[in-house]
């Protein structure tokens, strides 16, 4: 906090942080409650394990006192200890299994809840959210939580162990117990402070590593520039600086480790020294037996790990709390676009021509200050095709987004077949609108699944018909595995035009009442433009179609043209009419021709 806050501001901020934290813990509590049976079992197993573990030195003591010193039944004691070994072994295995399984299960369910929540959030949220941020909520943040949950049964058994050992020590010899235990709280304290201090230090090292990665990344990706200008030394100097930074930060972390870890190792030894010194004299004085002394030694070693672990879990808990707050931020965000309480039904397509779209005095902007559409009205008849033309930023693509109800209008209404889109369930509405977006999204899946995306149950005939209509069938057949070829980021890579034709086929399979084509032939090899236009033409016939045109060629496909200017309809009519009557249309058309650059002669 660099700025100075007033007391009330600080109080307000702390209060918000408090509620967020308690909300976060509530999320965790709910998750743990759902798994309480197994977690309780884990805790029970842990406590049992601790009590058997504690019994081992006690038996060792009897074995030494009774078995060795007094020539008693040695074999019996040895067998009892071995039996305890079996019990602690089995129980520690169970404890470990339950702890890890339950923590992973909680993490798994958390991730599913998070994913399905994020997927249903309104598009406006996704416009602002960064993918990387959401990804780290669902991966590294959940990992922090898992690391905390896994420690719960272990911590419980540790606590039980500490109590039991301390009790036994005090019963055997209170004075010796005090002496032996003095250094041990420092083990816990050191472990806690160590976790606290090492965390920021390793974060700092990671940050420096990331910076070095940036330099390497840009040097490799920009190798043409580096080579072209002989800038090798410049980049090397940058890298050397980052490498030095890593060394410096790593050594800082090493110093923290060096000041804590040896101390944590050595502190229990001080207890052992005390026990040997004071306890030895007490044996000499006949106050305790030699078996007691040996058992004391062993008990002390039994306390070291639990104390260290508890120190660690405090730090883990704090990190988990921070992660929970971040996750809660996402989970508590409500979608702004939701189904109406009592959705209306669209008229059945059997009742005649469907797919009429109407925008009535629509005003909309992505932020309140910058309106994109103002008083935008247009009526598109069922089965009609219309091209939307306008300069960049005139609001062309926004029309499709409002029709899909990605956003709600600020004022005015959008109707599909006479029903306000806000009165329809999102599923009903979106099933009736097929959009081919400007940037084609392909999923890491087979061609078939990509085309059948909107209707996973579609049969082969439907899929192939759609591919034929969109002009994709031919190249799909030439792919290594035909329709079963995996495409997408990690699969077979397709050209821009091929991707687009798959997207068109996807829209055809959806069989929507309204088709929206955001014509992004910019990504397409110029020679393929014609083919895509043909595909579009086939698909449009007999269906309401809105073409968002970036190129002169696509305008020709539509019955009517809307000229958008500053969020309003500036002119409407057939292409020829507009050319004849609207100067603005001619201007936009000319700009489009220049920008789309048909001068390219490559291929």
């Amino acid at each position: 906090m660099t700025s100075i806050e007033s007391d009330s501001e600080v109080a307000a901020r702390l209060e918000i942080e408090d509620t967020q934290r308690s909300e976060g813990w509530r999320l965790l509590r709910e998750a743990l409650t759902a798994q309480r049976r197994n977690l309780l079992l884990g805790a029970l197993v842990g406590i049992l394990w601790a009590s058997f573990k504690v019994a081992v030195p006690q038996m060792t003591k009897y074995a030494i006192n009774d078995g060795i010193e007094k020539n008693g039944p040695l074999l019996r004691w040895a067998l009892i200890i071995a039996g305890l070994g079996v019990l602690t072994g089995v129980l520690s295995g169970m404890r470990r299994y339950i702890a890890f399984r339950e923590s992973r299960w909680a993490e798994t369910l958390f991730r599913e809840r998070l994913f399905s929540h994020v997927l249903k959030l309104h598009v406006g949220y996704h416009d602002k959210a960064q993918t990387g941020q959401l990804m780290s909520r669902a991966s590294s943040d959940l990992m922090q939580i898992q690391a905390f949950i896994v420690m719960i049964p272990i911590t419980l058994s540790n606590v039980a162990q500490i109590f039991a050992v301390t009790a036994i020590l005090f019963i055997t010899d209170p004075v010796l117990a005090v002496i032996a235990l003095i250094p041990l709280p420092f083990v816990n304290l050191s472990a806690r402070r160590f976790s606290h201090r090492i965390h920021p230090a390793s974060v700092a090292v990671q940050a420096e590593q990331a910076q070095l990665a940036n330099v390497v990344e840009e040097s490799v990706s920009g190798v043409r520039v580096v080579k072209g200008f002989g800038a090798e030394q410049v980049q090397f100097d940058k890298l050397e600086k980052e490498a030095d930074d890593i060394l410096r930060e790593s050594m800082k972390a090493a110093r923290i480790r060096s000041s804590f870890i040896p101390a944590i190792d050595v502190l229990p030894a001080l207890g052992l020294v005390g026990v040997l010194g004071v306890g030895g004299h007490r044996v000499l004085n006949g106050e305790i037996t030699i078996g007691d002394l040996v058992a004391f030694n062993v008990y002390l070693t039994l306390l070291i790990w639990p104390l260290r672990n508890i120190g660690m879990i405090v730090a883990l808990g704090q990190r988990a709390a921070a992660a929970l707050v971040r996750i809660n931020e996402v989970m508590s965000t409500k979608s702004e676009i939701v189904d109406p309480i009592e959705p209306k039904r669209l008229v059945s397509s059997a009742d005649g021509l469907v797919g009429a779209v109407k925008f009535d005095k629509v005003a909309f902007g992505y932020s309140a200050e910058y309106p994109v559409l103002r008083n935008f009205s247009v009526e598109i008849k069922a089965g009609e095709s219309i091209a939307v033309v306008g300069a960049t930023g005139s609001g062309k693509s926004t029309i499709a987004r409002l029709l899909l109800r990605f956003y709600d209008t600020q004022s005015g209404h959008v109707f599909l077949d006479g029903i306000d889109v806000r009165k329809l369930s999102l599923k009903d509405l979106r099933e009736q609108i097929g959009v081919v977006f400007e940037d084609t999204v392909l999923f890491n899946d087979t061609v078939r699944s990509n085309i059948a995306f909107a209707k996973p149950s579609a049969d082969n005939a439907t899929i192939e018909r759609a591919a034929k209509l969109s002009g994709a069938h031919e190249f799909i057949q030439r792919l290594p595995l035909g329709y079963e070829t995996v495409i997408g980021e990690r699969g077979f890579s397709l050209s821009g035009g091929q991707r687009q034709r798959i997207a068109i086929a996807r829209a055809i399979v959806a069989d929507p009442r309204v088709l929206v084509l955001d014509d992004a032939t910019s990504a397409v090899d110029p020679s393929k433009e014609g083919e895509i236009r043909d595909a579009m033409k086939t698909v449009m016939s007999g269906r309401t179609t809105i073409v968002i045109a970036h190129r002169p060629g696509t305008i020709a496909l539509a019955d009517r043209v809307i000229l958008l200017d500053e969020g309003r309809v500036a002119a409407i009519g057939s292409h020829d009419e507009l050319v004849a009557t609207s100067a603005r249309y001619r201007e936009v058309l000319a700009n489009m021709t220049a920008a789309s650059d048909p001068e390219r002669v490559t291929n």
Partner: protein
């Protein structure tokens, strides 16, 4: 904590490879020999201290308590205290020295690998994917950081502890040592089996984590399409499947470790039961003392713990070895475009002549260029046109010596580019790539990429030379504006302007341009055109052209087809020839007419 760094089968090193790797590591680490030696001595001292504790307990019991000699007991206690303090002091020192050695080694490794990568020619970058090279410099080196920070220490300490503990136990009581060693093979066998299984399990987890992350990312980035087609339910189901697969692999890996940890726990207690049982019997027989039995139970963990630690470190060491051998492969790669020993500076001006060059990319069977000759006079503008993949970009790259031809030569003012000093080559001939690539830093930093020594005045002059002074003046911090990640703050056109300003800063005699195929934002498009125009004035220009307007402005046109110069001449000559160029030009006119 029990399965760091999985090692795939193909990553495993053979014995000979491992020997080479270890040898080279020591050679590279030789500057830190002293620190290493000090670190090693520290480890020896702390290990001895760890073993001295139980021995002193034994001495206290046998010579002090049982002999009823309180003076001797006090001596034991005092010695124990000294040992604890020594262990602490040397414990700190061993951390610092080992970390210093390790981290300094990683620093040297980083610098060496990067310098070597920088020395490589373009062909190297064609062969190796960018992602792989970045991974070498980051993930591979970082995978060793763990080893350096604590693994190495544990490794050495554990090894020494086993040896010392065995020697010590044997001198205390050979009978009990044999008993302890009976348990050892079981422990070692279990550890080896566990490492194998857990490594496999870990690799499966890693694969599933990757798949799950991709599914997650795909869902988030494609959310608009998913919502548009109302496929949220289906997508969530798909994700759930991949998520449950991940869970299963986690569960499997826990199961693999469960029995092992149970066995270890049992083994520890069982060994002390054996020691007490057999040791007690030996005490009864008078072979050993009670103190020895007690010391033995305390020392047993010194023998068993390191075996566990070593087996856990095994994977970490193996993956570090695999990473190192990949890094050494880069260090061994010979740069193909090294400066010739007798290199001379290129003349200030001259003809750029390509004589009978043949070139094919490494790993490609077909020639990218086949016996190509072409000549560009001082101040002449040559446009290279032709279908994609015909070799026009390759020819441009060879004319700037981004690659060397396999046959033939490229000369500038009669000096073969192979014989030119690198610095004079980069000053005379500058390549401006299709897209303006920006580095992190300010706009000014980005210009200095072209000329590290440039003064602020020179930079201002370069910006002025392309007529972009006003444009950059509108930025909040002018030329000191941070461009952010890869110049994301700047538009594509602005990035291109920076790229052109870089060229202007070098003020070369020859400019090699790769014209952009995609469109820029209409706002800056004309500015870029204008800047290009100014930059080209008075220079020899070779342009890989995609637009007819650019082609028409050139003095000569070379049509490159099938790795050869198919046609060469002025626009009018080539039109008259009625060949390939004529066909291309007609196709263009037709497409303009229809739209």
């Amino acid at each position: 904590m029990w399965a760091q760094g999985g090692v795939t089968d193909e990553d495993k090193l053979s014995r000979a490879q491992a020997r080479t790797v270890i040898g080279r590591v020591f050679k590279m680490a030789s500057p830190f020999r002293k620190t290493m030696l000090v670190a090693f001595l520290c480890v020896c001292v702390t290990t001895l201290c760890a073993l001295a504790g139980p021995l002193l307990v034994r001495r206290g019991i046998d010579q002090g308590i049982r002999a009823k000699d309180s003076y001797s007991l006090n001596i034991s206690v005092a010695l124990y205290l000294v040992v604890a303090v020594v262990a602490y002091v040397f414990g700190r020192a061993q951390f610092l020295y080992l970390n210093r050695t390790g981290e300094s080694f990683l620093r040297v490794l980083r610098l060496a690998v990067f310098r070597q990568m920088q020395r490589q020619s373009m062909a190297f970058y064609d062969r190796n994917k960018a992602g792989v090279l970045v991974a070498r410099m980051t993930a591979d080196i970082e995978s060793m950081a763990e080893l350096v920070q604590w693994g190495l220490l544990q490794f050495i300490a554990a090894g020494m502890l086993i040896i010392f503990a065995l020697v010590l136990l044997a001198t205390l009581s050979w009978q009990l040592t044999i008993v302890a060693l009976l348990v050892m093979p079981l422990l070692i066998a279990a550890s080896i089996k566990f490492q194998r299984d857990s490594n496999k399990a870990y690799l499966l987890v890693r694969e599933r984590v990757g798949a799950n992350l991709s599914a997650l990312q795909e869902g988030i980035t494609s959310v608009r399409v998913i919502q548009a087609y109302a496929q949220e339910g289906e997508t969530i189901q798909k994700f759930t499947r991949s998520n449950r697969e991940l869970f299963k692999s986690h569960e499997h890996s826990v199961r693999v470790s469960t029995w092992y940890f149970a066995l270890i726990e049992f083994g520890g207690v069982f060994a002390s039961a054996l020691t007490i049982g057999i040791g007690g019997w030996l005490v009864h027989r008078g072979d050993i003392t009670l103190g020895t039995v007690v010391a033995f139970t305390l020392l047993l963990s010194s023998l068993f713990d390191p075996v566990q630690q070593l087996s856990q470190l095994y994977n970490t060491v193996q993956s570090a070895g695999a990473a190192l051998s990949k890094l050494f492969a880069i260090l061994d790669a010979q740069p193909e475009l090294a400066e010739h020993p007798g290199a001379v500076a290129l003349p200030a001006t001259g003809r750029l002549e390509v004589r009978g060059i043949t070139f094919s990319y490494a790993g490609s069977e077909t020639s990218a260029l086949n016996d190509v000759s072409i000549s560009v006079g001082v101040g002449e503008k040559l446009a290279l046109v032709g279908p994609t993949g015909a070799g026009k970009s390759t020819l441009a790259k060879l004319m700037a010596r981004l690659y060397d031809p396999q046959n033939g030569s490229v000369t500038y003012g009669d000096v073969d580019l192979k014989m030119a000093t690198m610095s004079s080559l980069r000053e005379r001939i500058v390549v401006v790539p299709q897209e303006g690539f920006l580095f992190n830093g300010t706009i000014r930093d980005n210009l200095r990429i072209a000329k590290a020594s440039a003064t602020d005045d020179e930079i201002d002059a370069a910006i002025a030379a392309i007529g972009a002074t006003e444009h950059f003046a509108t930025f909040p911090d002018g030329l000191d504006t941070e461009v952010r990640e890869r110049g994301s703050r700047l538009s594509a056109g602005e990035r291109q302007l920076v790229a052109l300003a870089r060229a202007a800063l070098v003020d070369p005699a020859v400019l090699v341009l790769d014209e952009a195929t995609s469109n820029l934002d209409p706002g800056t498009e004309s500015e870029v055109e204008h800047a290009l125009e100014r930059l080209m004035t008075g220079r020899t220009v070779i342009v890989v052209a995609h637009r007819l307007s650019t082609i028409q402005r050139a003095d000569h046109i070379a049509v490159i087809a099938d790795a050869r110069v198919a046609e060469y001449g002025t626009h009018d000559e080539l039109i008259a020839k009625n060949g390939r160029y004529h066909a291309l030009a007609t196709a263009w006119q037709k497409s303009q007419a229809t739209s």
